[in-house]
């Protein structure tokens, strides 16, 4: 699998560290109720198809949100989270 780092261009996925679903980008407010935090931290979809997750490009330090297809393994988009 190859992921296109927004800084460095296409690289082998071994250069990246996987974190988890892009849900991690939507951090609840401090006073959000427990279920919102539970959802944020622990509840994940497991789609057969398009999914979006977070990868860290260790060499350059960029966090990348990768949209990919879990069935075909196609990488549809890769964008910097900031």
């Amino acid at each position: 699998m190859r992921i296109s780092c927004p800084c460095c261009g296409p690289r082998d996925r071994r250069e990246f560290t996987y974190y988890g679903a892009a849900d991690y980008l939507n951090r609840p407010a401090l006073d959000a109720d427990a279920s919102a935090w539970d959802d944020y931290l622990h509840l994940r979809d497991n789609p057969a198809g398009e999914t979006r997750d977070l990868w860290y490009h260790d060499p350059c330090g960029t966090w990348v949100a990768v949209t990919r297809d879990t069935v075909t393994h196609a990488v549809i988009a890769a964008e910097a989270v900031a």
Binding site: M1, T17, L41, L54, T62, W63
Partner: protein, 977 residues
């Protein structure tokens, strides 16, 4: 070489090579494979089969060989399961046959063949069930001894292996007529091309069938094209390179044999594992011929028809009298070609009734081979035909059950091929691998002319797709014969007919699998082991599933094929792991004080990737404990010096740096005054402790934070995430400066005296108090000074640019020794921090919260921070939690150990009674007692209680008193100094 045809073949007869097989010396030529050289010497018997130990010979002339597996001996090293059809001959090559005892010609285990009725598919599931305990101890070892392949030497593999990466526009896989044309078209258009072929010599079937191309012989035409390609700077030719796997994103794995064909490879690696990234690929892997299952079709001398052609035309081997048994036009053509080469064809046997009889050799239309004879090699072939059964005398039986396109790589990403009734073979579908085009015989276009045209056409398509202008290239003229086949898989004549030679699977085994309900192709495969040997059933799978389809009454199309997975051919683990041995396993990070530390005799231990001193032995010290005790006392009574450069150092700057650190740390960092340092705790978002360290404010908008040695990388990644995901617009930037600074801890009552020996401007308790930080000139160099301690004694840390690290360490150690102190290592550092109750990742191991380590007060109520919300959820704080405590043995000399579990005094050591566990332990020379830190359920409420430490591994049970985790100087007077 008794079996060589004079003047024939592409071997170099001016370069004879001596080699040995099972201790016998033979001669071959440069350009031979081991298989061709053995055949040229009349050696037909090369191995014993996997299960029944039946005598076996060479079946193929390529990498799909199931039978001719041998051991190559190099000194004491032994490489098992080498395919004789792939191993190139070199002078001095030493080979022995495998899976036989005492010898290849007389193998005791061949008795298995007599018991074949008891050893059919699935026999071990049924036969060796009772008594149960016998399976592991008796049956399995016995079966493993009897069945099998080659053996390893048991020695460490000293061979060199290599890995490498390559990038190209077009990867052409296979250099037969199709691949050569594709590479030429792409190369002439200027594309970056890699042409990979598993053979030592490119040309594919052009070298074996030797059809005329553009008025030249096949090998001559191929040589001309290769010369042109070799001259193109944009084309890389990779011989001996098998593309073994297809991966996502245009990535390919390829195994290159680099030094395996040389008598003295010198510094050459044995193999190189390539990872090739290609924008487009042209799969031109050709097709593999398949045998026909007939009784005793595994006798040495039975070969694929295409293999016989290879051995005759390419290697000049004389096969003796040949009977050809085939069901297709290519088989008939093989008989004609062999005749034209001067080989005596004793008969052409074809189950098709309408086959031409107007040939120069006897033809048996409607005929079938029903048996073979010859003890260790073929002597007679029994042919059943219209007139009955005839015995034909022959040394070689050439089989052709048709051709299977080599589409394996198209299936590696989950694609499924289609069954083509006309070709009686699976063919690839379009689009099975994005960016890969399948050309030539690999998609069922079998004539030379069709292959040449298809290679050129698909390369042109690929170029157009990439926007590269191609040139029109005239197609060379070549034979364009049609190919007709009448499906015919197995002869129905009683007796055992082999499908999978490598795993000894017969048509009966497959039929039995179907009868017993293993009728899905994947079940049949696993029940019979069909296709599970090193050759992965390349020559046998299609026939096996045809036999299965026949047994179940389903068609082949409905039966489907098993899944092709990487690797296409066996890949040594050593090649895949190349670069990962020794230093390549992990980088060695060395301190600036490394040379001197080693010169002082310190044994080194690994801390992450770093090498740190364990202790610094002195004369008269017999054990590490003596050195450690002395170093601890040195720090407590005088001064010690320790290289702490391994701690992660992250420079954080910007107007929003303080806000950012408030978000990262549980405690408030924005309120630190410039020139001061604060201890900090970091949580993960799930509320558990991630790391701890110090945060020094060097300026209004300039901080330097430290991480633990092991967490430096993860903390940086975490900070990058928090910044980029939540506050990318904040004016804060950070970068690692770990390697920029060499940093040394000075600890002990004389620490200030020592630090002042190096400072241009001396410090005292007032002008540089506890937790102060700032720039300092150290022995004439701009450095930094921190008034922090990890030992519980008065402590300073000085930092200098790394180039001065060695010199400063040397000076510090000398000065400290003059003051009754000296260097201390990790063992002493560990005891010092245990005495003081300071935590490391032994305690913050990923499952503890701030509450567990008694630092819930450090989670600021005034602000948000990462992990704050989750840290306060039910279950993460309360009496049910295991909390950090100190443990002191009732008998101070009773040894404590980390990893032990804690139980109430009279409880048995069972899981339900578990009260906690020990994370760190050490002997404190200061308190003259063993000490430990650990986590105990509701521990803070249990100080004063007696608990039993139970170390089941070491058989140790010690009564311990539960105490506060700070054993030494709990008031901190020494620390603040």
């Amino acid at each position: 070489m008794t079996h060589r045809i004079p003047g024939k073949g592409l071997i170099d007869r001016t370069r004879p090579l001596r080699f040995s097989f099972d201790g016998r010396e033979f001669e071959g030529f440069q350009g031979d494979t081991l298989a061709s050289a053995l055949l040229a010497n009349g050696v037909q018997l090369v191995g014993r089969s996997f299960k029944y130990h039946r005598p076996r010979g060479v079946l193929t002339a390529g990498s799909e060989e199931p039978n001719a597996l041998v051991e190559v001996i190099e000194g004491k090293q032994k490489t098992p399961n080498v395919r004789a059809t792939v191993q190139e001959l070199y002078g001095g090559l030493t080979v022995q046959s495998q899976n036989r005892w005492p010898s290849l010609r007389f193998d005791v285990m061949a008795v298995n063949d007599r018991f074949a009725p008891f050893l059919s598919a699935g026999f071990y599931y049924k036969t060796f069930m009772w008594p149960r305990a016998f399976w592991e101890k008796v049956y399995e070892p016995a079966i493993r001894r009897a069945a099998g392949l080659g053996a390893l030497s048991g020695l460490h593999d000293e061979g060199r292996y290599e890995k490498a990466f390559a990038f190209c526009d077009v990867l052409v896989i296979g250099a037969g007529p199709t691949g050569l044309m594709a590479a030429l078209v792409a190369g002439r258009a200027g594309a970056d091309v890699i042409l990979a072929d598993e053979d030592a010599r490119m040309g594919g079937r052009l070298l074996s069938d030797q059809p005329e191309v553009a008025g030249q012989s096949g090998p001559d035409w191929a040589a001309d094209m290769l010369a042109e390609l070799a001259a193109m700077p944009n084309v890389r030719l990779m011989t001996r390179t098998t593309v073994t796997g297809v991966y996502d994103g245009g990535t390919f794995g390829a195994l290159q044999r680099v030094g395996l064909h040389l008598a003295d490879p010198g510094d050459l690696p044995r193999e190189c594992f390539w990872r090739i990234v290609a924008k487009r690929a042209v799969l031109a892997t050709g097709a593999l011929e398949r045998p026909i299952a007939h009784p005793d079709n595994d006798r040495p001398g039975v070969m694929l028809a295409s293999a016989v052609q290879s051995y005759v035309a390419r290697y000049g081997v004389n096969p003796g009298r040949v009977v050809v048994f085939g069901n297709n036009d290519s088989a008939l053509q093989a008989a004609r070609d062999l005749t034209a080469q001067g080989v005596q064809v004793a008969g052409y046997v074809d189950p098709r009734a309408d086959v031409s009889v107007l040939e120069e050799f006897p033809v048996y239309p409607g005929g079938q081979v029903v048996g073979t004879r010859g003890r260790l090699g073929l002597r007679e072939v029994a042919v059943r035909h219209g007139g009955g059964v005839s015995m034909l005398t022959a040394e070689t039986l050439a089989l052709s059950g048709g051709w299977n396109p080599s589409l394996h790589l198209t299936c590696h990403l989950g694609g499924r091929p289609d069954w083509d009734e006309r070709l009686a073979a699976f063919v690839p579908r379009a689009g099975m691998v994005a960016g890969m085009s399948v050309a030539g015989a690999a998609r069922g276009r079998f004539s030379t002319a069709a292959c040449l045209a298809d290679g050129a056409a698909l390369a042109a398509e690929v170029l157009a797709d990439m926007g590269i202008a191609g040139h029109d290239m005239p197609l060379p003229a070549a034979e364009d014969r049609s190919y007709a086949i009448a499906p015919f898989w197995a002869v129905d004549a009683g007796g055992r007919a082999w499908l999978d030679f490598a795993n000894d699977v017969t048509t009966k085994d497959v039929q039995q699998a179907a009868q017993e309900g293993f009728s899905s192709v994947e079940h049949m495969k696993r029940y019979t082991t069909q296709g599970m040997a090193p050759d992965q059933g390349k020559s046998s799978n299609v026939a096996a599933l045809a036999v299965l389809a026949d047994a179940t009454g389903q068609g082949i199309s409905a039966t489907g094929t098993t899944t092709f997975r990487p690797p296409y051919t066996p890949v040594s683990i050593a090649a895949m792991g190349a670069g990962g041995r020794g230093m390549g396993f992990a980088p060695e990070r060395l301190l600036t004080s490394d040379s001197q530390t080693r010169a002082m005799g310190a044994p080194m231990i690994e801390a992450g990737l770093w090498y740190r001193p364990s202790y610094f032995p002195r004369a008269g010290e017999a054990t590490w404990r003596e050195a450690c005790d002395r170093e601890v006392s040195m720090v407590r009574t005088a001064v010690g010096v320790c290289d702490v450069s391994t701690l992660g150092k992250i420079d954080v700057q910007g107007p929003d740096a303080d806000r950012f650190l408030d978000l990262i740390y549980t405690n408030m960092m924005s309120s630190i005054k410039p020139g001061r340092t604060r201890y900090g705790l970091m949580l993960r978002e799930d509320g558990h402790v991630m790391d701890d360290g110090t945060c020094a404010r060097l300026g209004e908008a300039h901080f330097l934070i430290t991480t633990t040695t092991a967490a430096a990388g993860p903390v940086m990644r975490h900070m990058d995430f928090v910044h980029q995901a939540f506050c990318g617009d904040w004016a804060v930037r950070f970068t690692s400066v770990t390697e920029q600074w060499a940093q040394f801890a000075l600890a002990g009552p004389k620490a200030r005296e020592l630090v002042n020996k190096l400072l241009e401007t001396p410090v005292d308790a007032e002008n540089f108090p506890f937790m102060a930080c700032g720039p300092a000139r150290i022995l004439g160099v701009e450095g930094r000074l921190f008034r922090i301690s990890f030992s519980g004694e008065m402590g300073y840390e000085i930092a200098v640019p790394a180039r001065f690290g060695a010199a400063v360490f040397e000076r510090l150690v000398a000065e400290a020794e003059a003051m009754g102190g000296g260097a201390y290592g990790m063992e002493a550092l560990n005891v010092l921090r245990i005495e003081k109750g300071f935590i490391t990742h032994a305690e913050i191991h990923g499952r503890v919260t701030a509450f567990d380590i008694g630092m819930q007060g450090m989670v600021s109520a005034k602000k948000d921070c990462i992990g704050k919300s989750a840290s306060q959820r039910p279950g993460l704080m309360g009496p049910e939690r295991e909390q950090l405590v100190g443990l002191v043995p009732v008998d101070p000399q009773a040894e404590l150990s980390a990893g032990a579990h804690l139980y109430n005094e009279n409880d048995p050591a069972t899981r339900v009674n578990n009260q906690g566990y020990v994370t760190s332990a050490g002997y404190s020379p200061t308190l003259q007692s063993w000490l430990a830190l650990g986590f105990l359920r509701d521990g803070r409420a249990r100080h004063g209680q007696i608990i039993r430490l139970d170390d089941g591994l070491r058989g140790r049970k010690v009564a311990c008193k539960v105490v506060h985790p700070v054993f030494h100087d709990p008031e901190g007077g020494k620390l603040r100094g």
